[in-house]
């Protein structure tokens, strides 16, 4: 090694090999073998039974990502244009929930959304339930609750990259656009939006990837009816239908799909940003 300091990277490289490369290799081996470690493709064939879980996972993850984007972009834009004092407070508020474990936060949502939870009690108190003639409004156990849980947990990962990109935008570019005749709507559409696309792309990635592999949120807020890929995999390793070989195969397919999604998305990012969104 030419650079003496590069020796400091050795622990990191070793750690990565031990904790990333080797587990992936183990996963691949499991995915292509039977319980007796005979080579097979049966694990993949078996997955057909779980097509609905795959579809649901991607659908809910996409919806959650979209909702995060629709909430996150305006919030980021607004934050970036305010003063430094406001930005500090807003940032602290966004980060605050993340200082707590996400399971705890998800449990709180359970008690809010339950059939006899805080929200339904509130609806009852204001007479909304009587008005509708129902005992309660079902919220927990729906796909909406799962999406809500994911949006709540992953929204900061959408806001942070978009916010920092918009914050770093060169103010003279906006002045130049105005100088050339663009009103504020056009300045946004033709300059701010295309230049903030890298932030959007990394935000989308950072929300979509954990969303698609979510497991606890879907179980707790989906009430067992909204099984997602993460739950399915968990079930193969820790749950009743113990089959690590099938679990490894599902994990592999999920990883492959996620990688393909990322590659496609980054392709978009490299092209002319404007063409993508306009």
């Amino acid at each position: 090694m030419k650079n003496k300091l590069s020796w400091f990277a050795v622990p990191y490289v070793g750690w990565m090999a031990l904790m990333v490369v080797i587990p992936i290799l183990i996963m691949v081996v499991y995915a292509f073998t039977t319980a007796e470690f005979q080579g097979t493709l049966e694990n993949f064939a078996e997955m057909g039974a779980y097509t609905s879980v795959f579809l649901r996972s991607f659908r809910l993850a996409l919806v959650a990502t979209l909702v995060c984007l629709l909430i996150g972009y305006p919030v980021s834009y607004w934050m970036a244009r305010e003063g430094a004092g406001f930005q500090r407070v807003a940032m602290a508020l966004i980060m605050l929930p993340m200082w707590m474990n996400f399971l705890l936060r998800t449990y709180s949502w359970m008690s809010i959304l339950e059939n006899n939870g805080l929200l339904n009690q509130l609806f009852r108190a204001v007479g909304l339930l009587d008005l509708l003639g129902v005992e309660y409004i079902p919220m927990i156990g729906t796909s909406g609750a799962v999406v809500l849980g994911m949006v709540y947990n992953y929204l900061p990962f959408m806001i942070l990259p978009i916010y920092s990109v918009i914050l770093k935008l060169d103010g003279s570019l906006l002045e130049a656009a105005r100088d050339l005749g663009a009103d504020s709507r056009r300045v946004f559409r033709r300059v701010i939006l295309p230049l903030s696309l890298p932030g959007v792309l990394s935000g989308v990635t950072m929300v979509f990837v954990p969303s698609v592999s979510t497991f606890a949120i879907s179980r707790l807020l989906g009430g067992g009816t909204q099984m997602m890929l993460g739950d399915l995999i968990e079930l193969q390793f820790l749950g009743g239908s113990y089959d690590p070989h099938l679990g490894a195969a599902i994990s592999m397919v999920m990883m492959a799909i996620v990688v393909v999604c990322m590659v496609v998305m980054n392709r978009f990012g490299e092209g002319e940003g404007e063409a993508v969104l306009l």
Binding site: G181, R186, E274
Partner: protein
């Protein structure tokens, strides 16, 4: 050249208590090349931004073609700007950068919106690329261009909209010396060819003199002098202008009569008149207007204290009765030699005393810089008397 296009009347710009512009009055004529010249912080860029619409003056009026435009936003002004660091759009190629303004629908006379056809846009972008010598660069990313090329794109992007006025904020600041000279000629050529009013901001006096029809010298938020480059150089109004534009020896004098000024108790013929009898004045003598003669024939006699070879000429510092002058000469007078000088009447320029009197025009610090190197006991306090050059 005669019609007035822009007028600033008593424009004040204040940020909190800080007054950046103090009652600026300025008239800009159609098709002229006007330069706002001054040191950093003098208010020249703020003046430009007021004309461009990026800042609204705290008080005072901005008139364009006789119409008050204080509250008109930049995108509704027929004025375009070349920004200091070009501000090219990094996500667009050269062609799209230039076409940016053309793609925006413009309001027509009936209040509707007119959109240019692709053919029209293409024709005008191509024509502009021709003007700035960038044919063949259409599809390049702006980040792949050199500083000079980016500069040309910025100019093309502004001019393609056929503005009535082009504002340029230190556009050549980031270029190297050779390129600056080329671009100066280039800008002058474009301005003549397109018959557009240029308002140019710079702190480089040579640039201002070389390019402008009118130079506006600014300092501390006030206009110090407005005039042609020749006027500004030959007839500076105060010590600040005399010092900022070129090299000047500025000496205390007394006006004894019209055409007679006394310095160092000797009377000199000059061409200035209209001062009160025995009025104290500042006298400007340019280093190139001094003739060196044998000591006994000189109007003043002094000792050469330093000599610097500058290629075209020698810069020599001469001590006359304790006041150090800069003189430019092609004949070498060695350090320590006694010389005499003669000054023709047209080499002397008399100015009224101003707040800048006594601050500029003494070259004692100039020579002390050299003494500092050889003399370890140099007292840095004395440096305060010198100017900033």
């Amino acid at each position: 050249m005669s019609k007035e296009l822009i007028r600033l009347t008593d424009c004040v710009m204040a940020f909190d208590e800080d007054i950046v512009l103090d009652k600026i009055n300025l008239s800009i004529k159609d098709k002229e090349f006007l330069t706002l010249l001054g040191p950093s912080g003098c208010g020249k860029t703020t003046t430009l931004r007021i004309i461009g619409g990026f800042q609204t003056p705290t008080s005072g009026d901005v008139l364009f073609d006789g119409v008050r435009i204080n509250a008109v936003p930049p995108h509704k002004r027929t004025i375009n700007t070349v920004f200091q660091k070009y501000a090219l759009f990094p996500h667009l190629n050269v062609y799209e950068n230039i076409a940016f303004g053309l793609r925006i629908p413009k309001a027509d006379a009936k209040g509707g919106k007119v959109k240019l056809s692709e053919e029209e846009i293409d024709r005008r972008v191509t024509e502009m690329l021709e003007v700035v010598n960038l044919r063949g660069f259409e599809r390049r990313r702006t980040t792949q261009l050199s500083g000079g090329q980016q500069q040309r794109v910025a100019i093309a992007r502004a001019l393609v909209n056929r503005p009535k006025v082009l504002l340029l904020d230190e556009p050549l600041g980031a270029l190297d010396l050779k390129l600056r000279k080329d671009m100066q000629n280039e800008l002058k050529r474009i301005q003549k060819a397109m018959e557009i009013t240029f308002v140019y901001v710079t702190h480089d006096q040579e640039e201002a003199l070389a390019m402008s029809d009118t130079v506006v010298v600014m300092d501390s938020g006030r206009i110090q002098q407005i005039g042609s480059p020749e006027d500004i150089y030959n007839e500076p109004r105060n010590a600040f202008v005399a010092d900022f534009i070129g090299e000047s020896n500025i000496i205390d004098g007394i006006m004894r009569a019209d055409g007679v000024v006394e310095i160092f108790n000797r009377r000199f013929q000059c061409l200035d008149s209209g001062f009160g009898k025995d009025e104290a004045v500042d006298v400007v003598i340019r280093p190139e207007d001094v003739d060196i003669v044998p000591e006994d024939q000189g109007q003043l006699r002094g000792t050469v204290t330093s000599v610097t070879f500058k290629g075209m000429q020698y810069d020599i510092i001469v001590d006359f009765y304790g006041f150090k002058w800069l003189i430019q000469t092609t004949d070498l007078s060695p350090v320590g030699s006694r010389i005499g000088i003669k000054i023709d009447p047209d080499g002397i320029h008399v100015m009224k005393k101003s707040e800048y009197s006594g601050l500029f025009g003494d070259y004692s610090s100039y020579s002390e810089e050299y003494e500092e190197i050889s003399d370890a006991s140099f007292d840095p306090e004395e440096e305060d008397s010198g100017d900033e050059e």
